[in-house]
């Protein structure tokens, strides 16, 4: 007997927390606000854990109907929840990491104004994200999709009095919107051709269909449009430009939304729609190409950045590219695996970076840091764990997931060695810039000014207002405990990949979608014996480990041993270096190509041309014309009897004329 899991509680609890904090938080003390936020997000986590305990593959997929919503003829869309292995994984990641970040934020934001507002938005984000994950139809997923975009906007622009923060929020929302447009069109196509947006109905309609020929057909279009949406939400080329700017928000926001959860919504959506993608090789290829290019591209930019949060932002974009690469070669479980480990170590990286920033009083420029490992040991060790994890060094978490993706990129039926090669080079660069960050921040001599003055006056992007307790100090325990927990997860989190345990766990979700011909192709392709395949896999694994270690070595060389070298290298590369440093001027390009003409067109054409000269003018002029006509006609009412008589005579003549004319015709 399938137990009633009451899935609806999981999103609703944070919503209640958001409502309480939002409506009454102004009168609460900080303690009460944090308690409310923690209780409700913690309750969601507890419930999710309980659901996980109740879950078994036998009851998957678990469907729960909550309320009916749209009934329009044949079309039905309801509020319903859907739980299978995939959403269970996402659920645990989101609630777990989310709760930890709630705890961390209490410490980080303690001195800030708008405390209750922050937690209200944070809980609101949890609600929307959980709605997205647990949705049983695309429409509900879209609600969550839009909602997390909204929460992201609210949180990025949390310090809205700062111009850069407000603009960053707007940029995020607008760029997201462009992606959402693609998503919407995909939804329309789904409604038109399948008459429904429910996962069950759509996927069972699609199951019997065979794979489409390259680059044509309905499923390919839907897949591509879904990818546009995912590119917007998950910051892939060409819609990634909002994520670096989003670092204007508080660091916990960057950790939660822009590292661990919201940006992974795109990956989740692609994985959820795998039934469609499996039958659209053209769309899959596009996904893989976009993922690979983004990973490479963002990594190159990450090498040159000097702001610690910006490095992590580009790193996020790059790692998301890996996840899309995984999905793009139909290795969805590998992509989701990397999503999970990435949530751990990237969340940890951001939180630890926040701790560093907090420690040195608001400074974010790595050139002003250094030698912090002795001063903030806890932060140092947890960040080390995360750095090793992201670099892909065994036995840390990132190694397993990244290696799985690289292997699938090479060996999958949709994969190719090109993907693998670019992936390995990117892994090398990832390791390099992460260790560069590590060395610059924690090793060498301290280059900043916090210790001598005891407090800093500038508050940087994404940093809280500096507070005056002097010197470099470790963060309070409320911030450290989540760091430690995430560090532990970064170490052991990848071990579920051992012996393909994780993949097997998710297999029922993804196996159900693969067409028989693809399976046959898969089987046919693996004509090599298992031993050969195992040897090749070990070889490739070795190469990726070598890349990671190579990156470490290069970073050690440039940023620890020979500190003078980076300058020389940068000089010799000259223009290339400047280009990369300025993010290849993509932002400027977009501004010139899209933003400036849009603003110009809007103000000249839409505002002056149409609004003022056509709409306003039409209204004003017609009123003016009416007034003038009446002004002229008014003179007929002169009060003079004889003029009335004159008009009567003229009118009578007119009537006679008319009647004669009628009579003649």
């Amino acid at each position: 007997m399938t137990p009633n899991l009451h899935l609806w509680l999981i999103p609703i609890l944070p919503l209640i927390g958001a409502a309480i904090n939002g409506l009454f938080g102004k009168r609460f003390t900080r303690q009460i606000t944090s308690a409310v936020a923690l209780i409700f997000s913690g309750a969601a986590l507890a419930w999710a854990l309980w659901v996980a305990l109740q879950f078994s593959p036998a009851i998957a997929p678990y469907k729960e109907f909550f309320a009916s919503w749209i009934r329009a003829g044949d079309f039905r869309a309801d509020f319903a929840f859907y739980l299978d292995q995939l959403s269970l994984v996402m659920l645990l990641v989101v609630t777990g990491v989310g709760f930890l970040i709630h705890v961390y934020s209490i410490g980080y934001m303690w001195e800030e104004g708008g405390f209750y507002r922050f937690f209200c938005y944070l809980n609101l984000f949890m609600f929307f994200m959980l709605t997205l994950i647990l949705a049983a139809n695309y429409l509900q997923m879209f609600i969550g999709w839009e909602g997390v975009g909204l929460a992201s906007y609210l949180l990025i622009g949390f310090w809205f009095t700062k111009d850069s923060a407000a603009s960053a929020g707007k940029k995020a929302f607008i760029v997201n919107r462009i992606g959402d447009f693609g998503f919407l069109i995909a939804l329309f196509l789904l409604i038109k051709h399948f008459g429904s947006l429910n996962f069950d109905q759509i996927f069972s309609s699609i199951m019997p269909m065979g794979p489409e020929t390259q680059g044509s057909g309905l499923l390919t279009s839907i897949g591509l449009l879904l990818m546009v949406g995912a590119a917007g939400k998950s910051a892939q080329i060409p819609l990634y430009v909002w994520l670096p700017d989003a670092m204007e928000g508080p660091t916990p926001v960057s950790a939660l939304i822009h590292a661990a959860t919201m940006v992974t919504a795109g990956v989740y959506m692609v994985a959820r729609s795998h039934v469609i993608f499996d039958r659209a090789p053209g769309a899959l290829m596009v996904v893989a190409i976009i993922g690979t290019l983004t990973a490479f591209f963002a990594a190159t930019i990450g090498i040159t950045q000097t702001d610690i949060k910006k490095v992590l932002a580009y790193s996020t974009i790059s790692q998301l590219g890996y996840m899309f690469l995984g999905c793009g070669v139909a290795a969805y479980s590998a992509g989701v695996f990397h999503l999970m480990t990435h949530a751990f170590f990237k969340g940890l990286l951001f939180l630890a970076a926040g701790s560093v920033i907090h420690a040195i009083g608001g400074e974010q420029d790595m050139r002003q840091m250094g030698g912090l490992r002795t001063k903030i040991p806890w932060t140092f060790w947890t960040m080390t764990a995360a750095t090793f994890a992201i670099a892909g060094i065994p036995p840390f978490a990132g190694f397993f997931s990244k290696d799985e993706i690289l292997w699938q990129a090479y060996s999958s039926v949709h994969g190719s060695w090109v993907y693998w090669l670019i992936g390995v080079i990117t892994a090398f660069m990832t390791s390099f810039y992460m260790f560069r960050l590590w060395f610059l921040t924690f090793f060498g001599e301290y280059r900043g000014t916090a210790e001598s003055h005891g407090h800093d006056d500038h508050s940087h992007a994404g940093a809280p207002a500096p507070h005056g307790h002097g010197g470099i100090h470790e963060s309070p325990r409320v911030m450290l405990v989540p760091l430690v927990i995430l560090a532990v997860l970064s170490v052991i989190g990848g071990w579920v990949g051992y012996h393909n345990t994780f993949e097997n766990f998710l297999a029922p979700v993804f196996r159900a979608g693969v067409t028989t011909s693809a399976e046959a192709g898969q089987a046919a392709a693996s004509t090599e014996s298992h031993a050969e395949e195992g040897a090749r896999e070990s070889l490739l694994m070795g190469i990726s480990i070598a890349a990671a270690v190579g990156g470490f070595f290069l970073a050690w060389l440039l940023y620890h041993r020979r500190r003078d070298l980076p300058e020389k290298v940068a000089h010799s590369l000259g223009g290339l270096y400047t280009g990369v440093l300025n993010k290849y001027y993509i932002d400027e390009l977009y501004a010139a190509l899209f933003v400036a003409p849009l603003i110009r067109g809007s103000s000249k054409l839409l505002w002056r041309g149409i609004d003022q000269n056509v709409i306003d003018a039409g209204l004003d002029n017609s009123a003016e014309a009416a007034r003038e006509v009446s002004d002229t006609v008014r003179h007929m009412q002169s009060g003079n009897l004889r003029s009335y008589a004159g008009w009567v005579a003229a009118g009578a003549a007119g009537v006679v004329l008319y009647m004669i004319w009628i009579g003649i015709r």
Binding site: R634, Q637, S638, G639, N640, L641, R642, A645
Partner: protein
Amino acid sequence: MIPLSYYLVLSGILFACGVTGFLIKRNIISIFMSIELMLNGVNLSFVAFAAEWKALSGQIFVFFVMVVAAAEAAVGLAIIISVFRTRETLNVDQVNLLKL
């Protein structure tokens, strides 16, 4: 034997004179008299047609027109008298309280 049209032309002339008087004259009473002239012209036309078609109802109609003209003249003149009492003038151009 006179063609009907002669009578009609005469009637038309009388009517035209009546309308002209109505438009030109400035004394209220003169205007009223022009109205009577118009009515007379119409009466002539009625009787001419009645004679043409040998139908007596034309005469009856003239009879009624005269009665109505009499009633109208009575009331109209009474109004003129009361207007004169208030405005002290018989000039129609000065009875213009409705003017803006």
